[in-house]
Amino acid sequence: MKKFGFLVLSAVLSMHLHAGTTTTTTQFEDVAYNGIPITGQDNEYGDSISHKTGTIKTVDFKVDNFWDKFHKGGEAQSNYAQVSKVGIFELTTQATFACAKANLNAEGCSGQKPFLMNEGILSNPELTKEADGSDIVASDEYRIPFDDAANYLPTNVDAFYALDVDRNENFYKEPATPPAPGKKSFFSFIIDFLRDYYSKDQRVFGHTLTPEESAIRDRYVANIVYGHDQEHRLRKAYKGKAASSIDTTVPVVNKPVSLIDYEELFVTETSGCKTFFVNLDPDSLRCRAITGFGLANWIPFIDDKTTFDVESKSVMADTEATLLALSGELNNKNYVTPTLENAKNPSFFAEIFKPMTNMFGGMFRFFFGSKPPKTVEAISISFDFDKYLDLTFAMTDGDEVTGFKHFYLKALESVYGTEVESCTVKEVKGLFGWASDKATFVSGVPSNKDISFNDGFFNLTTIPSSKYNVLSDAGKIYKKGFWPFKYENLDMTTDDWLNWCKRNQGEREKGLFGKFFSKIGRMLSNPSTYETQIDNIAAAENFVVVEYKEKVHRGLILRLQEHEIKSGAAGTTTTYKLLNVK
């Protein structure tokens, strides 16, 4: 019996003493890794869809056998060269990076942004040009301006438009009861955003919109920050289901999907630094650059005492402020370094004075209307981002959503253009100007007003009386004879006068000594350009600017790069759906 017991025991023990000659390893294989491309496409909501196949493969899987000792053909261990499972996944990716930070649940966010473009916009060659008119080097990059909803036409292929999409109130309204400590409501989140980005000494102020407009605006900002909520996503026609229709008549109130239009109180500003959310120190460079209202200091030939109106749609200003704030907080950790950060660097000024000559080509209808006026100056500030925000634009044929395009927001350009309206000049006669003569020149109106000129300096020069506003010989440089100081006949057009006003408006009237010294200076210098000549003559004749009116327009241009949303990338949310297992 003892022997039998030993036999059984040793049989049991020996089962555990087998050691495999190969090691078991498990690997993951992705089909794309083996060279088969991933299919990328959009679903009806514009989310990026891709299918991926993954395999988990266990090599040399060993199973120890118990009964082999008692079996004629038994083996101690079975080795399986490969045991694997193949899974086919559908990856749905949207750009919804702000969602988690706001403590919003997934229903409150989506990858869609409330921006609309007409089909065919991306084939407009004007949009692939830099500010100076040269072609953008990088492919798939566009500079697309913002346009007012009132200008919308289905045929416009040179701008994008803001869209009002209904939104579940839970996802953007302040709750009736204050949020629990540690939890943030939507607006505290937004305000923190801006406080971090702009400045610490700001304060949030109210606005004068009607409650209806106010709701539209809150919704619009929320839609930019989080994207449309899941219930109210736009859809294109897909597998027999109809596409979302878009109402493009303006103004529209309380329509599910329409173009957006609202005006805020700061449409006309002369100074100060107010935006929707923030009120900044007007002297800060950041204020000047971001809001532009203090930008008078940077606009050439306008001094900071000049009063001017900024014509600005608050829809546009809100778009700009929100996109700036969002890009500033991208990745939840990587703050952008906009060009503005280098404020002490001269390159900032180079950036500021980047001319927008491309504007005069007739595009940018939004900016100066359909006919660009002759006398305009435009500058832009560019905010270049390090990390790019994903923006999904809805495409339309004018009636309904036809598709979606994904872009990186690479830079944001604030554009300011001045348009001369009119100028009133005064010819100061007599010692204290008691016999002054005024004339007003209005842009685009040829003036027939005669201005008679007196004799020049010490009455030694003889200036023939002439019609300074006859449209002839413009651009010709007239020489001044050495002795006597004599000007030849010169005709100045309205534009000549407006240009002169623009150059000289800051000077105002000079004191007696000032006039004297500037006369001496002019007497000794020979005018070299047409403009200098005009300056000299007008000054010699004691002309001063009485009133100079300019209109300042604001514009917003987004620099966008078309791209495919990459699953797993920062700022995106991906859902994984296991379609099949083999």
Partner: protein, 96 residues
């Protein structure tokens, strides 16, 4: 105890037939065992698939964002995902 008692014979026959039965059926039981082990493994693999895919996609994107080329990012992400699965398998006493 008397020698040559035949009473032991049926006991011996019973014991021997038990051994024969074990010898006869033992292999079949091993087969059942093997099937169940592989089933278990495949269930485990199936459960790991979504996690592995998610990890792979995220790692790949992170590597690309860190400046690696697509091919390098893919191979690095695969290596890391393999290590992750390997550790899971070790916990489950599958991998050595």
């Amino acid at each position: 105890m008397r020698n040559g008692s035949v009473a032991i014979v049926p006991i011996l026959i019973a014991v021997l037939s038990l051994f024969w039965f074990i010898w006869f059926m033992g292999g079949a039981d091993d087969n059942l065992h093997k099937v169940s082990e592989i089933e278990n493994l495949q269930h485990l693999q199936e459960r790991l698939l979504p996690a592995a895919m998610k990890r792979y996609v995220e790692l790949r994107a992170a590597y690309i964002e860190a400046g690696q080329t697509e091919a390098l990012a893919e191979s690095n992400a695969k290596t890391d995902t393999d290590l992750y699965i390997h550790n899971m398998m070790k916990n489950n006493k599958i991998d050595d």
